[in-house]
Amino acid sequence: MEAVAIPPFERFYVEHRDVVLGFLRKRMGREAAEDAFQETFLRALRGYDRLEHGEHLRSWVLTIAARLAIDASRRARPAANELPELPVEDGRPAYAQIEHLAGGLPPTERAALVLRYAYDLSYDDIAVALDSTPEAARQAASSGVRRLRAQGGPTHDLLS
């Protein structure tokens, strides 16, 4: 099968900007979402000429948005109310480890698993990202988990 061509950035941006803004507003509130929106698409633009194909671009850009939302909420959290940190092993934050672990999965499973476990997206949001249904998103994530466990790789407690 031929790889899906990477669309001109203009088309990619127009197609996904509403979803990205909606997602960020839900996660961060209106004002913070606007800054994060701009940064999301600037990051996407910086990496755009290194993409190898045009598949799953919505989940790719939502991953960038989710990472920004996580970073922003870490910065915003007052030190006194520090919640227990997400598990960090090998000096890498959990989301980076999960992305690494999931690297060899089929694209849909990888996207669903990473968005669910690394970025804590709801299956409703993942369905939007994958242009699919919440149920299909849940199935893709869990078959990704099963596949990783079957491979016997070090899934740690990251995927619980």
């Binding site: 669309p7 001109p8 203009e10 803004l21 606007e34 929106f37 701009q38 600037l42 755009y48 000429d49």
Partner: protein, 186 residues
């Protein structure tokens, strides 16, 4: 949810200001209809008479790279000078051009074309002679036909040996209007 026009504009501006675009474009209104104007960091690259962006996105991406975005920033200078030209206040464009992708012969012909003065006409044969290929009038016609930056590279000033207008990518009526604007036709 309504998408904020202001947010959209800010992103497009920031993208261009950070130098992240392979090519930026915008639609410029003109007396001969809207023009789609595209530029890279090297200079003005394209002017299309059909200003519907969706028609040109793929072509722009193939020629310059996938980071194609509508943004007034990169085409700002061209926009201003085109406005002045159509207002009759500018007879020479002072713009860098990006002619990558054009064959060496085409680059040579377009370079010579750029020297044809405002308000004057020349012929395909004369241009051919000037680039040292006096029998290549037809090839010069092909280069004019594919001119990536009409108006600024003034292929409207090139006419047939008999003085007939011959052809123009934007339509003969547009060629005639441009020549009238410049006072080359009475």
């Amino acid at each position: 949810m309504t998408f904020s026009a202001d947010l959209d504009r800010r992103f497009r501006e920031a993208a261009a200001a950070e130098g992240l675009l392979d090519v930026g474009f915008d639609v410029v209104e003109s007396p001969i209809g809207p023009l789609l104007v595209a530029a890279t960091d090297r200079g003005l690259a394209r002017i299309f008479f059909d200003a519907e962006p969706e028609l040109h996105l793929d072509r722009l991406a193939r020629a310059y790279g996938p980071r194609v975005l509508r943004s007034a920033h990169l085409v700002d200078a061209a926009h201003r000078q085109l406005d002045e030209y159509f207002a009759g206040e500018r007879s020479v464009f002072a713009l860098d051009v990006d002619l990558r992708g054009a064959a060496p012969f085409a680059q040579q012909v377009l370079g010579e074309l750029a020297r044809v003065p405002y308000g004057q006409t020349t012929t395909y044969g004369t241009l051919a002679t000037k680039v040292g290929a006096p029998r290549a009038a037809r090839a010069v016609g092909t280069v004019m036909n594919r001119n990536p930056i009409p108006i600024v590279l003034p292929c409207h000033r090139v006419v047939g040996a008999s003085g007939s207008l011959t052809g123009y990518a934007g339509g003969l009526d547009v060629k005639e209007r441009l020549l009238r604007l410049e006072g080359a036709l009475l």
